[in-house]
């Protein structure tokens, strides 16, 4: 196929643009200097400082707890939504699952802030409100992945199950569930990653009492840039990297970008060809 040297070079430059900043962060996290300016020597000190920082450990615990609970809720509700949208003609549910993903995050954040405070009072913001907020946007991702999986499946297996006398519950438990399990796991991993990384929505729904890792990074980089942030950033990159590798192993289809783009586009391309 046609891949001119010019195409190779410009694409390579863009890949470099994507990776160089992150590599710089990782390198400076091992730098034996308080300034992020020049390489002085190798050290693990910043990681040691990080692990002795009480506030950081609390933030990490909060982040993990929120992500675990939001993932659990979003996987159950999102799977239901995915199945419901696939099987039944529904008017509002597709709209309600997708819209939170399509709007700028800040809108979901501030509307939840007003809602929580006016419904439950001035001190309403807590771990629970963050978990609810994260679940709201994770449901959509799980629903999309589960639905994509169901759409690709042969309907006749369900008919066969029914003809052989399976009750709806049996056909769900013995056929649907095993078939959509990879999609559910992939959805759960995506939810976990999104939740643990979320800054904007957490920022508006967490209040002062619930520090999370992204909120801590935000506070730190607003005050001063220290190598501690490099170390924390590197660890968070490592965590997401591991989650992604697990996700690609569980559901190899996940990063074939076809799944991420609307059917609408596929349609238009069909017309082109």
């Amino acid at each position: 196929m046609r891949r001119s040297p010019l195409l190779w070079i410009s694409a390579a430059l863009v890949y470099a643009f994507l990776y160089i900043p992150l590599i710089v962060v990782v390198i400076f996290s091992f730098n034996n200097s308080k300034l992020n300016a020049e390489w002085v020597g190798f050290t693990f000190d910043w990681y040691r400082v990080l692990f002795n920082n009480e506030g950081m450990l609390i933030a990490a615990r909060n982040s993990l707890f929120i992500a675990a609970m939001a993932t659990l809720l979003a996987t159950v509700l999102g799977t239901m939504a995915g199945i419901a949208i696939h099987r039944f003609r529904l008017r509002f549910l597709p709209f309600m699952t997708i819209t939170p993903l399509a709007m700028p995050e800040i809108l979901l954040g501030v509307s939840l802030l007003i809602f929580f405070i006016s419904a439950f009072g001035e001190n309403a913001l807590s771990l629970l409100t963050v978990i609810i907020a994260h679940t709201t946007f994770c449901i959509g991702f799980v629903a999309i992945i589960v639905r994509a999986r169901l759409t690709g499946m042969d309907e006749s297996v369900f008919e066969a199950a029914r003809d052989l006398g399976a009750t709806p519950w049996q056909s769900f438990r013995l056929i649907t569930l095993p078939l959509i399990k990879p999609a559910m796991i992939a959805g759960a991993l995506i939810s976990f990653t999104l939740s643990i990384d979320d800054f904007v929505i957490t920022f508006f729904t967490a209040g002062a009492g619930v520090p999370t890792l992204p909120l801590t990074i935000y506070t730190m980089i607003k005050i001063a840039v220290t190598p501690e942030v490099n170390a924390l950033s590197t660890l968070m990159m490592l965590l997401t990297l591991i989650l992604i590798i697990v996700a690609t192993k569980v559901a190899p289809d996940l990063f074939r970008s076809k799944r991420l783009v609307k059917d609408d586009d596929a349609e238009s391309n069909a017309q082109i060809n």
């Binding site: 800054f199 904007v200 508006f204 238009s268």
Partner: protein
């Protein structure tokens, strides 16, 4: 209707209820209701200590129920419209730069052997998986020593950095489906590389460009962290104004009004892009 049919239909309805009700109720409570409260809040007064006056119960003396005041302030002072225009400008510039950078990558992946495509796509998505703030912070480290922090340039480059994959993926999905024989035909008919790109590849990729443009443009509009951390005072966008109204001045009705205006702009862009996408399709 036979009894079996009747029970089957009832069973069907019951199943529908069982799977759709829980997510429906959850999203009704925590997505739709908050959105509606925000609409109402944009027509109300702030509370005694900031925030929002109570929605129900007795109103403090001298206070009326609903007001257009927030919207009147917006339309009476050009300052607010100006920030919206500036945000649209930053979003447009970011989208354009993303397009220019995404195109060679998407094209290269689409024209690579099938085996290596998934890996090349994964390589684009991977940095995108690192925390949003980490990616901003990376630019702080790089731009700081170059004396480029707190400038418009810093804002745009990190906006591009954060949103680039949103442009690469839909563009690649589109380019991947192009029939390579079309380019051979164009070449046989005497088109040079320049014409082959602008007269064949580019017009056919317009639907992909529109999908990517919307995915970049909309989140940039609501962004507040990048202008706040990497920009100067001049670089404040709509997102910063909204954040400031909610957490700084604590004038929630005003913030709600700004959020409503942002929603209207976003919906307008979605509608516009759908109209464009249709035309692009006809063009192709």
């Amino acid at each position: 209707m036979s009894l079996i049919q009747a029970t089957r239909i009832r069973g069907e309805r019951f199943q529908k209820f069982i799977v759709s009700a829980p997510p429906f109720v959850f999203l009704l409570l925590f997505f739709l209701l908050p959105a509606l409260i925000m609409v109402v809040a944009s027509f109300r007064y702030p509370g005694e200590f900031g925030g929002l006056a109570p929605l129900f119960g007795d109103l403090p003396a001298g206070e009326k129920g609903l007001t257009l005041e927030n919207y009147q302030i917006f339309f009476s002072d050009f300052v607010y419209a100006q920030i919206f225009l500036k945000s649209l400008g930053v979003a447009a510039l970011t989208t354009l730069v993303c397009l220019v950078m995404a195109y060679p990558v998407a094209l290269l992946i689409a024209r690579s052997p099938k085996k290596s495509r998934d890996l090349l796509v994964l390589l684009c998505v991977l940095p995108f998986a690192s925390n949003f703030l980490v990616r901003i912070y990376a630019w702080m480290i790089i731009l700081g020593p170059l004396d480029l922090l707190f400038t418009r340039f810093a804002v745009i480059i990190s906006m591009v950095y954060v949103h680039l994959p949103f442009m690469i993926l839909p563009l690649y999905t589109n380019l991947e489906k192009h029939d390579p024989t079309l380019l051979d035909a164009a070449q046989d008919l005497g088109a040079n590389a320049w014409n082959r790109f602008w007269k064949v590849t580019f017009p056919m990729s317009l639907p992909g460009i529109f999908s990517g443009a919307v995915l970049v443009f909309i989140p940039v509009l609501g962004m507040f962290a990048i202008p706040e951390i990497l920009g100067g005072k001049d670089d404040w966008l709509v997102g910063n104004m909204i954040k400031e109204s909610f957490l700084g001045t604590r004038d929630w009705p005003f913030g709600s009004m700004l959020s409503m205006m942002l929603t209207v702009v976003v919906l307008g862009i979605v509608a516009l892009s759908m109209a464009f996408a249709k035309r692009g399709r006809r063009y192709a």
